[in-house]
Assembly symmetry: C2
Homo-oligomer: 477 residues x 2
């Protein structure tokens, strides 16, 4: 569906008035609504699907929180806002939004308590050995590269993946709690309802929306503001071609039906600036269970390119964007276990040379890579990439195997990170950094905390955290 | 300076009316003006600098043309629009604009004749051994990767860099000719004049501009349209942080003072879509003269990552964006010559091991890279990256050297490629792909032919080619 921005003077009048209109009911939309209602605003949430949840409900349900949350303390981990900030700044890297990172790290202890107060249950136990989405109902996991080179030397590591108590995939648990909280809050919800247009006053302010439901249009004035929380654009091939073509090669696009970028396009048409539309989170969860981190990830030239004990979100980023999604995890019979997510062995060989031939690597390349790695590993070192114990050991035990990590055959999970430019209160900004009056946003329609170096849980984290702030700001207006 | 888009109803009236207003007088602005005047339009060109030229005048002056231009024929090269299209599609890769590529390849023979008719002189001689900017006044050079792996097997190679007859840097020659042609055309020019605002009608059409000259404002109505030709944003650090932070590490930003993205921001504020704002052209001209292509470009792990005989625009892209701008060109005493652009030797060693230690590579890494390369090169092969004769030879002759290609110490030349979304007639498009009435653009304010895999001359090429088309379209409206 094409969206548009129209002159508010072009309609006879609004059918209805509220304080805040929220477009989309994922974790960001729910949090905007809750924030707005808490601040006393009459709030309407519209969602194009038949019910709430969005991509948040399809996610692993991890929320990246720290600084010493109640859950971290219960599990015996120390953490501070400062260490969390240092890690996030280093792992996200250039282009990060320091203002957002600072307010987030300062506020996550309170934010965790708020999430619990909304009804999200957490079990006070820690799970080791798998990232992001534990197969149990344990509450705390490592969901980033905190504990590996180079980050462990930059900031004191602590696990910060907070997972709602539900074995396997906790996203539905998070969203059913938040949707119930929205219902209980007194915010109105309208499902099967799209926002097809924004109305703009002559001074540039956004004052209302055109809503479409089963072919009927309705015009709603938003006295405080309109918040765009419609998610990213990983399902929109045309936008991917314009911003990040490589993402189309990934076998798994992490998305609900709505992630077609409609809200981002709507905001751009209203004159919003954008940030980091080329950034994506790409996961290559081939090192689950973690024993597989002892493998060597090599590219089409048989070269290693990363410390394999890094978080799978970092592996995927390097594999897809720097090595064209053509790589293999080289394993030996000493540590090999079956990968969790259905990755296949592309080939097996009695020697590195035989294995290299089988997968079509240049002659001598894999032998040379393994030889250099083994020589250093025997001394407990990885001067190329800084991999560490317990996953640093020479590959010596035949047969050797190559786990297929090419995009054609393997699971790469991707979603978009960039979006509309926004400030720490969820105001949408124009290309000069000025607030567009009446326009708000949160979640993956906006450019948030993670614009590279993804750690799991940052999207639900900033969607809920900055969603609340956006709701309060729109209510105050 | 911050720009804005204002309601046309907010001003008392326009001070002046013309058919077409062109903002910026680089190669794109000049060509819009010439195209508009040819189509009979009363045209005003405003330029914020004291005279015309812009970044085009700071460039090497190469124009990428082919398909059998008069110059190619005079130099004895065969070429067709089909082969040119195949090369450009393959080298630019995913995200390219096929509609623009097709009309460009079909039209470049005529376009070359038009450029000559504007007064740009070309000497009918071919120069071999250096790319892009020959030290002579020869007219034709290789300015891309046409003749190297993998492109030589995809499309029949032909040199397509058309260089105005001026030894060294031909950009000023191109622009002095085009500026003279603009003067002679009857278009009016206003220098030291900025466009600080666009005026928008209630139906969304752009109808005029606010011009600022020495602190005085003037409002000009544009009956046909306003064309944004203000260049890219390589001088705007804030925009680089939002779209391509790595570019800030490059020592040479190829830009005139005006490349601060003002026109792109103006278009975005008017609700334009954008494409590929993360894309940059990064040149690492370390293999000039070409004898240096026999070297091995290695990263911080001592690994090769590209066929070193590729065009320097391709080398820079890989070095900066895939290897963090940390690399060295390994040479031996058998072929070493002094690099053209002041690259320094970071270290010299009697053996690869000694050289590797000197530049801080992991022990054994460089030895292993050279050993694998030499073994294949002795058989005339480079199965890793496809480098070819005459630059494929084993490195055997001590001493060995490492030419410093780290961003801290070496010349990386960068400019932005992405910009406003436009069609083949220079209409600026909204995020849904609809024309914004009255708004046009060309050159590096728009996303053009090259959105990756840069070949030199594509920017002057599409700026002039699609500039002419935009001028005609605005004149017709």
């Amino acid at each position: 569906m094409k969206t548009e921005v129209l002159d508010a003077g072009s309609i006879a009048g609004y059918d209805e008035e509220v304080d805040v209109v929220v477009i989309g009911l994922g974790c960001a939309g729910a949090s905007v609504a809750l924030g707005a209602v808490e601040a006393g605003a009459e709030t309407l949430v519209v969602e194009r699907a038949g019910g709430g949840g969005g991509t948040s409900a399809m996610s692993g349900g991890v929320i990246y929180l720290g600084g010493g949350t109640a859950l971290q303390k219960a599990c015996g981990f120390e953490d501070t806002a400062e260490e969390m900030l240092k890690y996030l700044q280093a792992s996200i890297g250039a282009g990060r939004d320091d203002a957002k990172l600072e307010v987030y790290c300062d506020g996550t202890v309170e934010h965790f308590d708020w999430l619990v107060a909304q009804g999200i249950p957490y079990k006070e136990t820690f799970y080791y050995g798998q990232s992001g989405e534990p197969p149990t109902d344990d509450g705390l996991v490592w969901s980033g590269s905190e504990n590996v080179h180079p980050f462990r030397d930059i900031a004191r590591p602590a696990p910060r993946g907070h997972v709602a108590a539900m074995p396997g995939v906790a996203g539905p648990k998070v969203m059913s709690a938040l949707c119930k909280a929205v219902e209980a809050s007194g915010a109105r919800t309208a499902f099967n309802t799209r926002c097809s247009a924004l109305y703009r006053e002559r001074d540039g302010a956004i004052s209302g929306v055109r809503l479409e439901r089963f072919g009927e249009n309705r015009h709603v004035r938003a006295r405080g503001g309109v918040a765009i929380t419609t998610g990213g654009f990983i399902l929109n091939d045309e936008m991917l071609l314009a911003y990040r073509p490589e993402a189309r090669k990934c076998s798994l696009r992490v998305a609900a039906e709505g992630d077609d970028g409609s809200g981002i396009r709507l905001g751009m048409a209203a004159g919003a600036g954008t940030r980091h539309l080329d950034k994506v989170s790409v996961s290559l969860p081939v090192t689950q269970p973690w024993d597989l981190k002892a493998g060597l990830l090599v590219n089409a030239q048989g070269q290693r390119f990363i410390n394999e004990d890094a978080y799978y979100g970092r592996l995927g980023d390097y594999a897809l964007l720097r090595h064209d999604g053509r790589c293999w995890l080289i394993v030996d019979d000493g540590f090999y276990v079956e990968p969790e997510y259905g990755y296949d062995l592309a080939a097996v060989g009695e020697t590195p040379a035989e294995l290299g031939r089988e997968i079509g690597l240049p002659e001598g390349a894999l032998e040379s890579t393994i030889e250099v790695f083994n020589r250093h590993a025997e001394r407990g070192e990885d001067p190329l990439f800084g991999k560490r114990e317990p996953y640093l050991k020479p590959l010596l035990t035949p047969p050797f195997g190559a786990v297929d990590c090419t995009t054609e055959n393997a699971r790469y999970a991707v979603f978009t990170l960039g979006g509309l430019a926004s400030d720490i209160d969820g105001h949408i900004l124009d290309p000069e950094g000025r607030i567009i009056p009446g326009l708000y946003g949160a979640g993956r329609s906006t450019s948030g905390l993670a614009v590279g170096g993804y750690s799991s849980g940052l999207s639900l984290g900033d969607g809920t955290f900055f969603g609340r702030r956006a709701g309060r700001a729109a209510a105050r207006r």
